[in-house]
Assembly symmetry: C5
């Protein structure tokens, strides 16, 4: 959670628009892949130099430039300068804490959002920054790290599957957003499984670890909510901007996307409410257990304290103690004690303490 | 609750509009029933093939085509292709997690909402997806499973009861929504009965099971709220769209429907608040019980510990112990102890611990 | 609370506008009283037949028809048919769970709201449905049960007190609403008295019954809020409709009424917050008591356990035990024990446990 | 808190606009002071009769009529009749539970709000009703009780300090509101001091009284919030009404006033959140203390129970008990017991229970 | 927290616009520094007298006048009079409790906000009032105390770094806001570190101090939220005012700034939610510990009470006690007791109490 703001202090006092990467440094050079396509044609290359981007932007009906490993210094600045991006936009691309948003810069639209993924071996999901620039004939996507997030989409372009090759860069941008938001569902589904496991644990065998699990899940939902919540507004402002860069044909797809984001947000809210209830139930069951333990303690004390007192009475060393010299004294006393004990036990059983 | 998102991951990476049924597969072929009617005429048939839908759409004043068992593969696509539905709309029909919404597609209006039903033998209610397509002269309804939900409505059409045969497809669509929302009341009523039972239990004989019941009811209310909440907006947007497909005569009925949905939502909110209070009361009564148990324990300890100490004193094997050789020593000691015990007991009774 | 939705299931599957009374059946025939008046004239009769309403509607400047005991079957339908009410409106009048609302039907305005009353002998307030129809020259009021709610208003008409005889049916409708909302204050005041009593009890002598009282009051406030909350919107929409049926002279009175409803809503919210605080205080004081009891228990145990152990030591039957044969052994031992006990007690007093 | 609604029931069934004073009756006749002033002239008199108000209203550039002790019967009605106030407005002036609001009556503007004051000897602040009527050339202020609230303002008028004598009645009305709202800060400051005291108490020496103090402060904040909250809207509607009675020169002052009210509301909200936290902390520290007490109890029991058991073993009267006849038996046994006790104590120290 | 309102009472009854410094008095005279610059020229001086400000205002393309140490009496009034500020604006500058806001005075725009800083040695952050006046060719900044907050910005102006020297006073004002809001991130980051430490402590070794830390952090977040929250609206109204003083070139920077404020607010909200969860977890773990302690206590009591009772039985001084004279009586009895003890222990181990 602390990651939320790490590295911000590094920027302190620098001029606005200073290109400081806020995140972990990467030793790896970014890989810049270019896909040029239209309905009939398809071409895929890897660029050696960031500045080559400028030349590739308008070569085909649609050009998709993907840049990863932002942490390598200088790359974003080179590309930004080559393509004429506003300095603040370059800063936003580099800032891995950037808030999800849409900005209309006239000749291109800038979109920033979070990619959530859950690598199999990990305890929790990971958050990565995705920046998109949608122009007249191109889409440029910046990923914080290298990954295979968009591979199914690449395959669809390569194999000319679906309608992607027939539509423009706005549809491509939509597809990128769609894949990203589909991953929100995956993460939510995984969290849902864990929440269900925790719920079962609370009902059947509550332990201290359960408490820690609830706490960890609440943190993850908080973090997820923080990532997903602004996406609603982001897509909304993309739809309402009436920028000519988004064609009417893509509008229904964006509406659909907004539905999906709503659904994720509602899911997160429902899970949060569910966990809050689960914690309350856990606490109540703790208090139930306390009562059970207390009852055992109280019953033992209430039964044996009077009996032990009686043995103490007849253990006193007075010269003249009644019954002591009577032949059946011991038996009568022990019998009375057994009776007293049984009565006390019966009383507690009747009060449902046992 | 985990069902909320099950199967979503199956769609990952597929092109938007891919027709993947998100839900359990069904081995049963869908049953497609068609009712053609106007004020004077009525005709009811079962279609053998999905694609026959297209021909039946405009044969009478009002045509109601009902399709169930969506899980059978291919049916929705066939119908959708025959009737010219947008691919995203076909996807929405198949998606059993679809959010409640209205979409105006110009020549038809698409409505998705949740059907809630509570089969008698079940522990909780069931959620099913209902999709409606309202056109100029037809209504097509898609139910996730087969069922007798709309049988009373069919009888009203068959028997020409009420005004249904005199009005158009918009009124039919309203009737379908009305039946669906009337079932929300049934489910809410049942939850209300259970909540009342739990409240009584908390007041009179709180047990661990009560706690589990409260938790289960809170889950059900959460789930219900999630299903019902968007229906308010859905009907509102149906009213405000000013689509020519909804005639002014049907507007008052939709207003009435919106009132009903409001009432369900308020009912759910009230029950949620009530359950939260009930849980707090349960916790407090637990803490009361703890206090009662503690008091018993404390009183027994406070009374018998001093007395047992006294017996211990006179049980020590010193050669010279006062009173021990006195003839009335035992009686005096035991009498004193009885007095001491009575005083302690009186003290605790006066402090209301007993 | 369960009453909230009782009987709803009876309507299931019936055509919208079906006239089913949702509430308890009444064996009593409704009493239909008619008051005709203007500034100079006044006439009061009881109608034998519901259908006579139609003829009485326009006989004077203002006609007030009051109908009670709705549960008697058929009456509302007869009146509704005679006066030409929309079927949905008739259904709303009969529905005792009807949400508070205003509906403008052009030639008349329909208003539904809740009457709250608190009969002296009862444990809680009662809710009754009030429906008003305001026309050009008449007001028709439907009360669920017979009662003396509006008697002071009738007296004012009879005695020509205040301005009521000089103004039109819109002012009469306002007066009916005003009396109804004044009763909200009465109910709130009574709840306030009980809340104060509960607060005192929590501060001075918290008991299990206090907990039940808090719970019951929270339920009552929830129910009251549910009844009163929509009245704000209802009066607001009455003011903003700009229907010619409400004259400008009555507008300031409606504004005043809206102020009153606001005040009731704020009062309910304040009491809810206060009860939540009171419950928290109750819980804290419970926990305080637990601590007090625990301390007594701990102190007794801590003082007497070591002492009893010492007596046990000298009660062991070893042949050679130090001090045992010394003449002052017993006195010295008991004295030491008294000293030890005093020291332990002093320790706990210093720690404020006693 | 109960005062909130006291006396409301007295009005039940009376015609709207009935002049019943809702509050405690006063035996004192109201004092009606009049200040006439403009930049050069100043005159101050006390009126003998309420109806003289009418003649004084327009005698100078600005006339300020202040009326206190509203509980004296008849006065408000006399003044209202003399000045032609709407009956509902007269009722509002008399109603000491009146909600804070602004009403534009065309030729005058009516403002109702709460005066909060905290007399030094009191346990809590007091609430009083202030009503202002702002006309073309006059301001009339109605105070519920007599008091020195506005004395500094009177001095400023008398001494021609600041700009007050140069500006019109709208500025005077602003000054009255400003003094009133400045007192909100005083009350908030005092509450702040008490909250801080309570916070310290919770941190250092939590006691039962602390709990009662928290509860009392929460009540006071609730009451304050209820009084202050509507003032935001009241000033807002005064600014936005664009009544010619408020000149543009006074608008910046009203904006400033609205800032102050916002600040008070935020302060109250912050204190409420702080007290909620403090209560949670108190509860946690209670639970900490319970744990501490429990540990002492558990440690004493765990150490002395086994030891006492051992003494019991050797106190049994069997003929043949090992060690008993050995010369060092007692020493060895007591030594072993000391060792066992030390081991147990060490174990609990290591577990941090001691 | 009490500081929130300190000194407010000093203003009571004074005319609005009275220049009373609300805060601690300063013995230090304010330092007034002036920076005149444009793209080519740069000049920096310190003014001896406040009234010299007037002459310096329009001497260059951009003039930045910075005034600190407001607590020195008279300075703000002198400057305000020299530059013709509205008296209420002068009062706002002096009021260290001033709410964050923007006011458009036509020829200049007034901005008030909070500076947060966290000196290294301190336990918590400090809040200082910053007031900005943006005119046609100048910016005047008023800081409550002297400090090095803006030194990096001064260096950028001196060294002509970035675009600051090429742009106007609106960009300078933006830079001042940007530095201030960047400090919000620093403070939030520090709070985040402490929250993480507290979370760890709750998970691994909860202690009483942890509770106090949680409480202190909650207070700090409340205070931060109170300072930061209105900044969102402040920047929004700066953007939407369409004042000619803010040029279109600076608008994107303000949009960026608003994003930053949103991010801080979301961060604070997330941390608040996290701390609330952490407190709940702390409480739950307390209750877990109580249970653990109780179990130890209950097990010791349950095992040793019956055993001690048995020893008591054989310690009674009856003449005829079975087994007592049997040679193996002791061994058999002690053996049976060991067996009983073992059985009880096994029972509790099986119930997971040990």
């Amino acid at each position: 959670m602390a990651r939320m703001l790490k590295g911000r202090s590094a920027r302190l006092g620098m001029p606005p628009g200073s290109l400081v990467y806020v995140g972990e440094r990467s030793p790896r050079r970014p890989r810049i892949t270019v896909m040029d396509y239209d309905a009939s044609r398809f071409d895929e290359t890897v660029l050696a130099e960031p500045r080559e981007c400028a030349g590739r932007r308008d070569t085909a009906a649609v050009t998709w430039i993907n840049v990863d490993a932002l942490a390598y210094p200088g790359t974003v600045e080179e590309i930004g300068t080559a393509l004429g991006f506003h300095p603040l936009m370059q800063e936003d691309i580099l800032n891995s804490d950037q808030r999800t948003k849409t900005e209309d810069h006239g000749e291109h639209v800038f979109v920033a959002l979070k990619m959530l993924s859950w690598p199999d071996a990990r305890e929790t999901f990971e958050i990565e920054q995705l920046s998109l620039v949608l122009g007249q004939r191109y889409v440029i996507s910046f990923q914080e790290r290298a990954g295979d997030f968009f591979d199914p989409l690449r395959d669809r372009i390569r194999q000319n599957a679906g309608r992607i090759r027939r539509l423009g860069p706005d549809y491509l941008a939509y597809c990128l957003l769609d894949v990203t938001i589909d991953h929100y569902f995956i993460v939510l589904e995984r969290l849902g499984e864990r929440i269900e496991a925790v719920e079962d644990a609370v009902m059947t065998r509550p332990r201290v670890e359960t408490l820690h699990d609830i706490h960890a899940l609440k943190r993850q939902l908080l973090l997820m909510r923080k990532s997903v919540w602004p996406a609603r507004e982001m897509i909304g402002s993309l739809r309402n901007r009436h920028t000519p860069l988004v064609s009417p044909a893509v509008q229904p797809f964006l509406r659909d996307l907004q539905d999906h984001v709503e659904q994720v947000i509602e899911g997160v809210a429902t899970y949060q409410a569910l966990l809050t209830d689960t914690l309350a139930t856990y606490l109540s069951s703790q208090s139930n257990r306390t009562n059970t333990i207390m009852k055992v303690l109280a019953v033992f004390s209430a039964v044996f304290m009077p009996l032990t007192f009686v043995t103490g009475v007849f253990g006193m060393n007075f010269r003249r103690v009644p019954l002591i010299d009577w032949e059946w004294g011991f038996v009568a006393t022990v019998g009375s004690m057994a009776l007293l004990g049984a009565l006390l036990a019966a009383f507690f059983i009747q009060k449902r303490w046992l």
